[in-house]
Symmetry: C2
Subunit: 168 residues, 2 copies
């Protein structure tokens, strides 16, 4: 099962830093791929640098025609939205299917067609909060917490400490 | 058990939007209080507006002398850091104690004294990612997912939908 994350609404400067957090979460919570709807060389560079140092993987692709990309996606489209169904109600069904997943993460205004084209509209709580948090909690549910223990095989590796910082 | 979140490093403009996400997550994931190390009227106003509409609560306080505040905190100090102990190893112990919790969320550089003064240094994965995601997953572990189903008693209330948006 391949897990892709599509970030919509990366056009605005105030969203740039948010997208960086989304990219970092996508990698650290073991998604395979991040798709942006507009180019961002700086973001790509900073993620490539992190992967070089810390290991793991996250392919970054740009799909300006994101509508077509969603339509043609061969697998399950999962749109994260505060208006959707509770994650804990739907996650057993989502986990059971081994189809590839496209997790769609929007900004403040997501076109209504995204709701209709998605197999699932999923809420990580029905309260306004953060697409970064929603993505992290969703991936944590999908991977049952195992994502936090994965070996990323990076040059840099932390040895967990009660106090202080230690590298392997 | 009262849960407070202390956000360190809110001085920088690039951190402002991150702090907004942290405040939204703190409220939506049922923390009681957010403490900032510098004033931000805009942030306070936007959170007050959200609480007026959507219910729930989140007191926002400013503590410029955050060192003293941490020292004097009567309860358990939990510093979220990628260098710390795995959350899933420590969370049973943390949940068992009913003492008040202070969750410390830093930016890129947290002074080493924070590691020493904290009862727990906790990693939500030992990979670089996002303090917003780390806070959400930590609170989700602490409240065992129940935080996503809490009734916030707001004027606005969403009725979860398979597709589209519906308010109560």
């Amino acid at each position: 099962m391949k897990v892709s994350v599509l970030r919509l609404g990366h056009r605005f400067i105030r969203d740039k830093r948010t997208t960086t957090h989304i990219a970092l979460v996508a990698r650290a919570f073991c998604a395979d791929e991040l798709i942006l709807d507009s180019e961002d060389r700086d973001l790509e560079k900073s993620i490539v640098r992190i992967i070089e140092e810390w290991g793991g993987k996250l392919n970054i692709k740009v799909e300006k025609n994101w509508r077509k990309f969603i339509e043609n996606f061969n697998g399950e489209r999962i749109h994260l939205t505060m208006y959707g169904m509770p994650v804990d109600e739907k996650i057993p069904e989502i986990k059971k299917s081994k189809k590839d997943k496209l997790i769609i993460v929007g900004g403040q205004k997501v076109p209504s067609e995204v709701y209709h084209i998605s197999e699932y509209n999923i809420a990580v709580g029905n309260q306004p909060h953060s697409e970064i948090a929603a993505l992290a909690v969703f991936l944590d549910r999908l991977f049952e917490g195992d994502e936090l223990n994965r070996n990323f095989k990076g040059k840099k590796r932390i040895i967990p400490q009660e106090c202080g910082k230690k590298f392997a």
